[in-house]
Amino acid sequence: MPIQQANWSPYDNNGGTCVAIAGADYCVVAADTRMSTGYNILTRDYSKIIQLAEKSVMASSGFQADVRALQKVLEARHLAYQHQHNKQMSCPAMAQLLSNTLYYKRFFPYYSFNVLGGLDSEGKGCVFTYDAVGSYERVGYSSQGSGSTLIMPFLDNQLKSPSPLLLPAKDAVTPLSESEAVDLVKTCFASATERDIYTGDKLEILVLNAKGVLREYMELRKD
């Protein structure tokens, strides 16, 4: 009898796109709400964004079961941190925690492409972008997911911030105002929805600033 191979994969890709933009005193994190599998839409109303701490918001695309498991691990770790240290985790600290959490599954990865946004300890916007196994980098803006190859070049064109590696250093946050950044995000998703089958239905936008967190929705094409 010929050798039979298992055809079952533990992974699936539920599609979707996430974007985050860092401002001088705010951060915008957005994701669409479509969840798909293959050519089917499972639901039009699934949130990919979670607020992990007072000043940290994570958006993740990829395999939503792994995303949910990762969210639960981070929430639990943050709760334990609050019990031990009597304060909220800062965004850069959460960024490193996420990186380590992803790397500890290096040989059985979380199929989750994450973008972490928030305010650093100086109140400036910060965005961290990740690959599936935890390599991360602080950037001025980022997008992950099925529509990222469509959105990133557009953001590069509009927001290209000087590389943090340049010496003498130049600031990486966008000079845009909060409302301009939100409009830019809406434009990104409207365009990505046109050309990416996995992006659409509804857009969820979270804006973090010193006053707190605001949530906004925008309808996208449902086809």
Binding site: Y104, F107, V133, L166, L167
Partner: protein
């Protein structure tokens, strides 16, 4: 069945005895979960395809009279897509030691941070800074124990210890080489060409920095997987210092300035009739 050596991840046992379950993941390092499959290698191959670590890169380091010069580009590619133009490929392990990143970005970032922790523990336990030989051996032993599991790391450990400047090449196949000149990555052949032809032991810091910068620049010119910003670091007796960070797009015109040419034919407006 071969037992995997996880000693690289162990931490000292908690003084409090048995911590409660919720916090037990915090004081001891979490263990690596292994997928429950018979074909471990096949699974790893597939998941590496999914992750597609950044392999395209150019990094170099060399020893000269004034210490060690370390330089790298900053591009990360996933297949043909440039996922970042601002990746930090020179990792600051501690104020006296640098590591370079080539291969899997997450692998390099994680294990260099882990090496930094081990170096600090060595300092606390032995009341003296760890040597470059020792640090590179720690990393090489860890990578050797994960040999065959799909880690992708091609790094150089550069530092200045009691014996003077030190430079080692360490990779995820378990190789560890002591040397005076190394370049790692897809752009390394181009960098070697410029580096080897311009190298003298008796260079000044400025000359060495310019050589390193030019070598990386030429590699980014010819290698599609390298680009972004050239970072140049110098490691001296008092530790490392970042000397420059230049965008290669702009650097091109300092090496190959555009000659102003006489305009032979002015462009004329096309009338719309």
């Amino acid at each position: 069945m071969m037992k995997i050596d996880f000693s690289g991840l162990e931490q000292n046992a908690s003084l409090r005895g048995n911590p409660n379950e919720l916090l037990s993941g915090l004081s001891t390092a979490p263990e690596f979960q292994i997928p429950n499959t018979n074909d471990f290698d096949g699974f790893q191959k597939e998941s590496i395809q999914m992750v597609k670590p950044a392999k395209g890169t150019t990094t170099l380091a060399f020893i000269f009279k004034e210490g060690v010069m370390v330089a790298a580009d900053s591009r990360a590619s996933m297949g043909g897509y440039i996922s970042s133009q601002s990746v930090k490929k020179i990792i600051e392990i501690n104020p006296h030691m640098l590591g370079t990143m080539a291969g899997g970005a997450a692998d390099c970032q994680f294990w260099h941070r882990n090496l930094g922790i081990k170096c600090r523990l060595h300092e606390l336990a032995n009341k003296r800074r760890i040597s470059v030989t020792g640090a590179s051996k720690l990393l090489a032993n860890i990578l050797y124990s994960y040999r065959g599991m799909g880690l992708s790391v091609g790094t150089m450990i550069a530092g200045w210890d009691e014996k003077g400047p030190g430079l080692y090449y360490v990779d995820s196949e378990g190789g560890r080489l002591k040397g005076t000149r190394f370049s790692v990555g897809s752009g390394s052949p181009y960098a070697y060409g410029v580096l080897d032809s311009g190298y003298h032991y008796d260079m000044s810091v400025e000359e060495a920095a310019e050589l390193a910068r030019r070598a990386i620049y030429h590699a980014t010119f010819r290698d599609g997987a390298s680009g972004g910003v050239v970072s140049v670091y110098h490691v001296g007796p008092n530790g490392w210092k970042k000397l420059s960070g230049d965008d290669v797009g702009e650097l091109h015109y300092t090496y190959y300035p555009v000659e102003p040419t006489t305009i032979e034919q002015e462009m004329a407006e096309v009338s719309v009739s």
